[in-house]
Amino acid sequence: MKQPTEKQDIKIKDLKVCYDHTVVIPSMNLSIPKDKITMIIGSNGCGKSTLLKSIARILKPSQGEILINGTEIKKQAPKELAKKMAVLPQSPTVPTGLLVKELVAYGRFPYQSPLGGLKAHDLEVIDWAMESTGIMDLKDRFVDSLSGGQRQRAWIAMALAQETEILVLDEPTTYLDMSHQLEILQLLQKLNQENKTTIVIVLHELNNAAKFADHIIGMKDGKLVFEGAPKDVITAENLRVLYEIEAVLQISENGEYPICTDFELLK
């Protein structure tokens, strides 16, 4: 939609994040490639959601810097940052009595003046967002009347309406069945390919991560275990460290990504 003038990228320097007195991420240095789909994987409680929330500035880090396009996020005006990066949390509050098109229109909030209505460009973007997520037919339905998969697409449409070059999603496919998971991931892939949107996702399904990611980050105990292309980093050895499992891997038919066909817990 938007012709990007300058590419946004995310850099993390000496990041330390704590919950109360528990250190979740002791010290992390990371760079998230632009125009790519990056997936963060790891077992429960490894700090992957914490990392994502810190990037989304929902959590305040105790130390370190998070830079988007070379500027620290806390030095950027919240509304300006919202025009660069859209965030979809894990289980957003479902508002009652709100129409789908009204929800998607909330994505235009960073661009609107307090009393101004939606302008021609806003309406264009909202339509485009609903079109690309395939929820045009649902636009006059109430959000709380949608099924899980439809609702998730409505949230993604809202994030798209923010017209950002970075999209951050926390487990967007949890609670969805296999076909809906695929549908959402294919949608995100399409967005990435067509608009060069940088997408960062925390995901639990290893095989989906390996299939759709350009770049995978494996985390354990708040530390980076590996990062790289799925083919290079999804190895039996790495999975042994990451999940403490003994995985059986094979390569996909097109030879592009590894598939975990079976696994046992490490004795």
């Binding site: 929330k53 990066m85 859209a86 909030f109």
Partner: protein, 334 residues
């Protein structure tokens, strides 16, 4: 949808005008609609002029602004806490204002409400705001634990509310009988004795605060989506929440300072409004204000006339409507 909203607005406005007319007509000095209109256009008798311009009209105007204030405070609290049951009367804000005013009235030791001196009347909104503000601070700090969680805020508020009410009761027990009755009426929420002076205090403050809240209505919409999404959309959640809480406190305080502790008004208007026009605050805030104003007017007219010559506090009448509705809401919630 657009037409429906216009229709709802027009209809609520008509109801408001109608309730105002009925309020002007009814009372111990009953008047016909013709007489009311005549008097409004300046052709009334001396008695009619007094009844309309000195007694009923100021009371109606004050009632409308109290309705607007409490309804808007309710919209804010429900939006910010994401709890549909939040209401200034329930989480102790009104009680705090009431306590402060009761202390003021009794310290000036006036026996009757209309005998309160002018200086006290002008002091009341300030003192009331101070009381509401101090109690809100207390609630805020008691519920603060790495940020304020809405549920904790509500629970702490309910606790503080009973605590403050207990202190009010304790205070009342030490009062003379005349003071006690006056304080009791006032605490239950009453528009008795409303005059143009009250109106002059309430109207400008409420208009100003209402305008600010209306101006920020989109922020309130986005805050209702939850902290994480609101942050992602570029809102400084903690800061905006504080600003909105201060606005809600100020609105409840100004309403309480003239009408006492009126419960449920901040719940009923926003809820009925939400059913009629949906959750977007730009539509919800004005319609909820209209509905709350209608409700308080109708309830006040009933309070004045049902048990004449006795007048029951309007807060009691509203509770008679509010309690069943509240229970209905509780049962509907999971």
């Amino acid at each position: 949808m657009k037409n429906r909203i216009k229709y709802v607005f027009f209809f609520s406005f008509a109801v408001l005008i109608l309730s105002a007319l009925i309020a002007l007509m009814s009372g111990s000095y009953a008047m016909t609609i013709g007489e009311v209109v005549n008097t409004l256009f300046g052709n009334g008798s001396k008695a009619q002029n007094v009844v309309i311009f000195d007694l009923r009209l100021p009371r109606i105007c004050v009632a409308i602004f109290v309705g607007i204030a409490l309804s808007t405070a309710g919209c804010i609290l429900q939006g910010v806490t994401k709890n549909p049951l939040a209401e200034p009367g329930m989480i102790g804000i009104n009680a705090g204002a009431a306590l402060a005013v009761v202390m003021l009235i009794s310290s000036r030791s006036t026996a009757y409400y209309n005998a309160i001196s002018m200086s006290t009347i002008y002091l009341m909104p300030l003192v009331s705001f101070l009381g509401a503000f101090l109690v809100s601070l207390l609630i805020y700090f008691l519920s603060y634990k790495k940020g304020v969680k809405p549920t904790r805020l509500i629970l702490v508020g309910i606790g503080v509310n009973s605590g403050v009410n207990a202190i009010i009761t304790l205070y009342q027990l030490n009062m003379s009988k005349g003071d006690y009755n006056q304080a009791m009426t006032w605490i239950s929420g009453s528009l008795w004795g409303s005059s143009w002076v009250y109106f002059k205090i309430v109207a400008p403050v409420v208009i100003l605060l209402f305008a600010i809240v209306y101006y920020k209505s989109k922020t309130l919409d986005v805050l209702a989506l939850g902290d994480e999404l609101a942050t992602g959309l570029g809102i400084s959640v903690a800061k905006e929440t504080r600003v909105f809480l201060v606005l809600a406190v100020a609105l409840s305080a100004i309403a309480t300072s003239v009408a006492g502790n009126i419960a449920f008004l901040g719940l009923l208007g926003p809820h009925i409004g939400k059913r009629l026009v949906g959750p977007k605050h730009r539509r919800l805030i004005p319609i909820a204000a209209l509905i709350s104003s209608c409700l308080i007017l109708i309830a006040d007219t009933a309070s004045r006339n049902l048990f004449t010559p006795l007048e029951i506090p309007v807060g009691i009448t509203l509770s008679v409507i509010g309690v069943p509705y509240f229970i209905y809401l509780m049962m509907k919630e999971k």
